[in-house]
């Protein structure tokens, strides 16, 4: 039975053994040398000294752990600070609260599943997929109760879309408050979502002609719910079970959530359990008491679902300042709930002059879009801004322009231009300009 394949296996195995033996001898020799020299330095310090050229780094001198050492992979121990973070003073309890994505460390348009921002209204539900059901009823011809297995049998699509909480930047209406990209803009994330079109499900149940609205509701402790116009449901909404190639994370509604592309985060109901079709909205607590905007004349706006064009520079930022004068690449993200980003402009002087930034492919509708711009910093103070324009021609406004119309108590839908002040020493601060 010993064929060529087996001989190759034998040979490979032999090499591994030899190499392990070699590494062990190298370690022994190093240890012996340290003892002989009478060095009191610990192994970590010794390794750090040895890691640079021309030295062969310590991790090059031994075998690393083998496959399935970590059956589910984890980020490097050296990026352990790249985590979701919260503002503890912001909310009464962490179960009805928000955490922020570290955008300062997000290198592409896809947010890592473990870093996707969280927003809960009744904590993170732990749902057993075997017992999870989606009920669709109301003004339909054929009410349906679906298992996860049923839903996964239906035709599937994958789409890359951002989700942004409309309260992103909500703490900045009055003034610059938080000196951090993560906390001023981290309530936006982006993922590839896989699931079934909501229109497929609605065709399956058969809408009655009076059907105008859908109530979408979660299985969480708050039974989070919103009313959605049926046109949007039939347009591009998705009922998804996949997030970036794996099952939805519990934080994102495992096993099933709604994706309402380009609309504010809270309508993307997580742990989706029920869709009721009706002829008028329900005016739930989350679309009356919350997620409405108080205007200066004391009237309030409701059903302001759409996320208008927005952008932010992610380098430099307060967390990632430049290190002295020289050539840098300004980097950032732009997004619009109305479609594709058409272009992004960057200003280095607080909005006096603007230059066109480069958009990095892919430029997808209702998705984070990466932009870059070459910046030769002369070491003088600078006021960095980015301005997004979407394919409808909508131009991202300044905070002054927004305040002139909406005052300072709207809380939601702050899509204003962000200004980063770069001081001569390289430190970066969140500021607002007159």
């Amino acid at each position: 039975m010993t064929g060529p394949v087996d001989r190759r296996r034998m040979s490979l195995r032999g090499r591994e053994v030899a190499s392990a033996d070699f590494a062990a001898r190298r370690r022994f020799l190093t240890f012996g040398a340290a003892l002989a020299g009478g060095a009191v330095v610990g192994p970590v310090a010794a390794q750090a000294e040895e890691a640079f050229p021309p030295q062969d780094a310590p991790w090059s001198q031994m075998l690393g752990p083998g496959v399935v050492d970590r059956p589910y992979g984890q980020p490097s121990q050296f990026v352990k600070d790249v985590i979701r973070r919260n503002v503890p003073w912001l909310t009464a309890s962490p179960e009805s609260s928000v955490s922020f994505t570290p955008l300062q460390d997000q290198t592409g348009i896809i947010t890592a599943n473990g870093l996707f921002f969280e927003r809960y209204h009744g904590g993170r539900a732990s749902v057993d997929p075997q017992q999870h059901r989606l009920m669709i009823h109301g003004l339909v011809e054929r009410p349906l109760l679906l298992t996860m297995e049923d839903i996964k049998r239906l035709p599937s699509v994958s789409r890359i879309h951002f989700i942004e909480c409309p309260a992103n930047g909500g703490m900045e209406w009055r003034a610059a408050q938080l000196n951090s990209l993560q906390f001023t803009h981290g309530m936006v994330s982006c993922a590839e979502w896989t699931g079934v079109k909501l229109s497929t499900l609605l065709a399956e149940v058969g809408l009655k002609k009076e059907a105008k609205w859908a109530l979408v509701e979660g299985a969480d402790a708050a039974h989070m719910d919103r009313s959605l116009p049926i046109e949007k449901c039939l347009d591009d909404c998705l009922v998804v079970y996949g997030q970036n190639g794996e099952a939805l994370r519990p934080e994102q509604g495992f096993p099933l959530r709604l994706i309402v592309p380009g609309w504010q985060g809270n309508v993307n109901i997580k742990w989706l359990r029920r869709i009721e079709i009706g002829d008028q909205p329900w005016f739930t607590r989350e679309e009356t008491s919350k997620y409405t905007e108080l205007m200066p004349d004391l009237r309030s706006r409701g059903f302001t679902w759409l996320i208008y064009a927005k952008s932010v520079i992610t380098f430099p930022c307060p967390e990632k300042p430049p290190k002295g004068p020289g050539l840098y690449e300004i980097r950032g993200f732009a997004w619009s709930g109305k479609g594709r980003i058409a272009h992004v402009d960057v200003s280095l002087d607080g909005g006096v002059n603007w230059e066109r930034a480069r958009l990095e492919d892919p430029v997808l509708p209702k998705a984070l879009t990466r932009f870059t711009h070459e910046w030769r910093w002369d070491g003088k103070p600078a006021l960095l801004q980015s301005r997004a324009v979407d394919e409808t021609g909508f131009v991202q406004p300044t905070i002054s322009e927004l305040r002139a119309v909406r005052g300072v108590n709207a809380i939601y839908n702050n899509n204003s231009i962000q200004t980063w002040q770069v001081k001569a020493d390289g430190s970066v601060f969140d500021v607002q300009l007159s």
Partner: protein
């Protein structure tokens, strides 16, 4: 008399009592609908739909049978709600203030009394999500009573008000007509100017986050900054 969940249990018990009916219902529930294209899933039974249909509309659709008055509401509220929302809805710590307040001034207080457009939403939300630490334990009667109590503290209903599926839709909330349900955006008209867009002398830093002690740290372990 019973919460929506309990109502579902009662319905199920009734169905179980009528064995023949139950068999017929189950049989039909297991059959895919012939008119559906994919023919997957099952038809939910009336009891299954009733158990989950908790949404209440301003016209009263979805409100269950039962009722509750202000006095009973004061007692239930004291037991179930006051720890977070205060004895008279004034709120504690950062938990929401429910009553009183004003929308005017520097720090508007959007409470049930000053802000909520519909009284029915109060029943829906208490039933849906409260009490916050252990939701879905209150009976419909108790929820009607708490609703009556909160509305009474805000002087929206009289002391003898009884909340039920008929009375709640008729309550006119003070702020009902102040909402615009059509999105007026775009409400800004920024132009894409590229050169000399503003006078450099006019650019002043109006506010800065520098020196404000509000930002949690973004390196190291999570910041346990105390609520302020």
């Amino acid at each position: 008399m019973s919460s929506c969940r309990k109502r579902a249990a009662v319905c199920l018990a009734m169905i179980a009592a009528a064995a023949a009916t139950v068999m017929a219902a189950n049989a039909s529930a297991q059959q895919p609908h012939p008119a559906a294209h994919y023919g997957i899933g099952t038809a939910p039974t009336a009891a299954e739909i009733a158990g989950w249909s908790i949404a209440v509309r301003p016209d009263g659709q979805g409100l269950p049978p039962g009722s509750g008055n202000v006095d009973h509401g004061a007692n239930v509220y004291a037991d179930q709600c006051a720890a977070c929302h205060g004895t008279f809805g004034e709120g504690t710590g950062r938990y929401p203030k429910l009553t009183g307040g004003s929308l005017k001034g520097d720090r508007p207080e959007p409470t049930v009394g000053t802000y909520w457009p519909y009284a029915t939403t109060l029943f829906d939300y208490i039933n849906r999500a409260m009490p916050f630490p252990s939701p879905h334990v209150l009976s419909a009667d108790d929820i009607y009573a708490i609703t009556a109590y909160i509305l009474n503290v805000d002087n929206i209903v009289d002391n003898d008000f009884v909340a039920d599926r008929n009375s709640l839709p008729k309550v006119k909330m003070p702020n009902r007509d102040a909402f615009m349900w059509q999105d007026p955006r775009p409400d800004t008209a920024a132009k894409e100017c590229m050169k000399s867009c503003v006078d450099p002398k006019m650019i002043k830093i109006e506010s800065t986050a520098e020196g404000k002690d509000l930002t949690p740290r973004t390196t190291g372990p999570l910041d346990a900054m105390k609520p302020r």
